[in-house]
Symmetry: C2
Subunit: 257 residues, 2 copies
DNA sequence: CTTGAACCTCACGTTACGTCAGGCCGTACC
DNA sequence: GGTACGGCCTGACGTAACGTGAGGTTCAAG
């Protein structure tokens, strides 16, 4: 049976099954030297089965994020072989892209909804309405120009870098303070706790960008998963419930609720 | 100069510019008989310039919606040549698809956010986190299976058809009632108007599915455009403002606000 | 009547895989 | 310890949806 330990290895089929990619795709990435598995099975002379490590999986993620940004596979290769690249930045760029796409999907939804409505009423639909709809659709699968990429990159470095550190530094402080009130048996409706509640949502919003859908998804993740990387979510659940009471008392609603 | 009248005609370049497609793409669609322009210029012997009519534009929208659903161009041709198809249904299917994609984008955003966070903290990121992220990404550009399409289709016919008529029948009634109160000079905070306000948001929510982003986009559309197909939005604006006051008085917030 | 931009028709090139074909590996079972 | 069979291997050719010229034509403005 396949292992589940750290130091885990995946065979192509396993990796394909887990990721939703096809075996052929992984073969292809290997063939062009974009992502070659770190290991192979036995193999005295013949060629053994591909074995992918966790590091390979991490690289795969980078590859796919860059591809999602509109890079060709060749460009992805180049990018990843230049030593001066930052995986975090790739993720951030992809994130930015995904957010933009979400906005475009909303636009398209509005257009399509209007169109469906008009068609349902048997009205004469103006060509402009069709054209606007089409325009929205085509925008969706347009990629960034190099200039746009640079711009996003710059913004990410500028705002992101330092502000992220700041926000991150605030979380432990806030959580320690809340824990203290919990231990002291303070009522969630107490003004002190209310102040913490407001601080809490502002930090959450800074993290999510205030997007209700993202907030909801994130909340679901924290509710259903017991650990998120090294964070023991399960142990934090009492605090979440405490804060939910505080939110209720303060009349605060998170964007996703 | 290019016309702007009804009965308008577009040349390839114009249509391409307006839609975001390329000229080559339109040529291609013509070459394979998927979308051939209804007209051509002059042309005694040589081949004149392509002239697209409003009907061609409408067909183009259908083509692109079907393509967005994952059909190959050949399948689109087939689909559109079968006489028994319904343009409204195509739009509805596309709408459904777009909604699903939006949900997947939210999932991806949550994953990427978690990943960015983990990377920023220099923590050891588990392979699972990468794998989940990758899985989300690959799901996004997977198309529906025929069975799924059938299922959506069935649901759309069943729920959609009749309920849409109902909702549509309610709007004119509601708007007439509101207009009457406006004419009578009734205060927006008046209980009668408040009841209308609640009815109003429930109809809007039924239309948007309660999605805040979509509601916001739709609102923007109604604020920036003076007419939407045959509807004189401009003339309705006083009523919108009246209702906004009513919302404020009732403490109602639309999901997008 | 000319001129430049936009259009026309071939026709071959490209990307990112899909899809066989024919053979090898590995592990579960007897 | 043999064997069976699902999964893996390496070629190698196929494909969808255009991209990208080449070389000639059309049209609206001046």
């Amino acid at each position: 049976m396949p292992q589940t330990n750290p130091g885990q290895l995946w065979k192509v089929g396993e990796l394909a099954g887990r990721t939703g990619l096809t075996v052929r795709t992984l073969h292809h990435y290997d063939a062009i030297g974009l992502l070659s598995p770190s290991g192979r099975t036995g193999s005295a002379h013949g060629s053994g089965h591909r074995l992918y490590t966790a590091a390979d999986v991490a690289r795969l993620q980078q590859v796919l994020s860059l591809k999602a940004l509109g890079f060709s596979l060749e460009q992805v290769s180049e990018y990843l072989s230049r030593g001066d690249y930052d995986p975090r930045q790739v993720v951030r760029l992809h994130l930015e892209r995904v957010r933009a796409q979400a906005a475009e999907l909303r636009e398209i939804t509005a257009r399509l909804t209007a169109l469906a409505d008009a068609l349902d009423r048997q009205e004469v639909v103006s060509a402009d309405e069709f054209l606007n709809t089409i325009e929205g659709m085509t925008m969706l699968d347009k990629y960034y120009t190099p200039e746009q990429l640079e711009q996003i990159k710059a913004r990410g470095e500028q705002v992101g870098e330092e502000r992220i550190r700041e926000v991150e530094a605030e979380w432990p402080r806030l959580m320690a303070a809340v824990q203290a009130e919990m231990d002291a048996g303070t009522d969630p409706a107490d003004p002190k706790v209310q102040a913490f509640a407001h601080k809490w949502v502002s930090l959450v919003n800074e993290f999510t960008g205030g997007d209700p859908g993202i907030t909801a998804s994130l909340r679901k993740m924290y509710e259903t998963e017991d650990r998120i990387h090294t964070m023991d979510v399960k142990a934090m659940r009492p605090m979440f419930e405490y804060m939910n009471k505080a939110f209720a008392a303060a009349g605060i609603k998170l964007p996703g609720a």
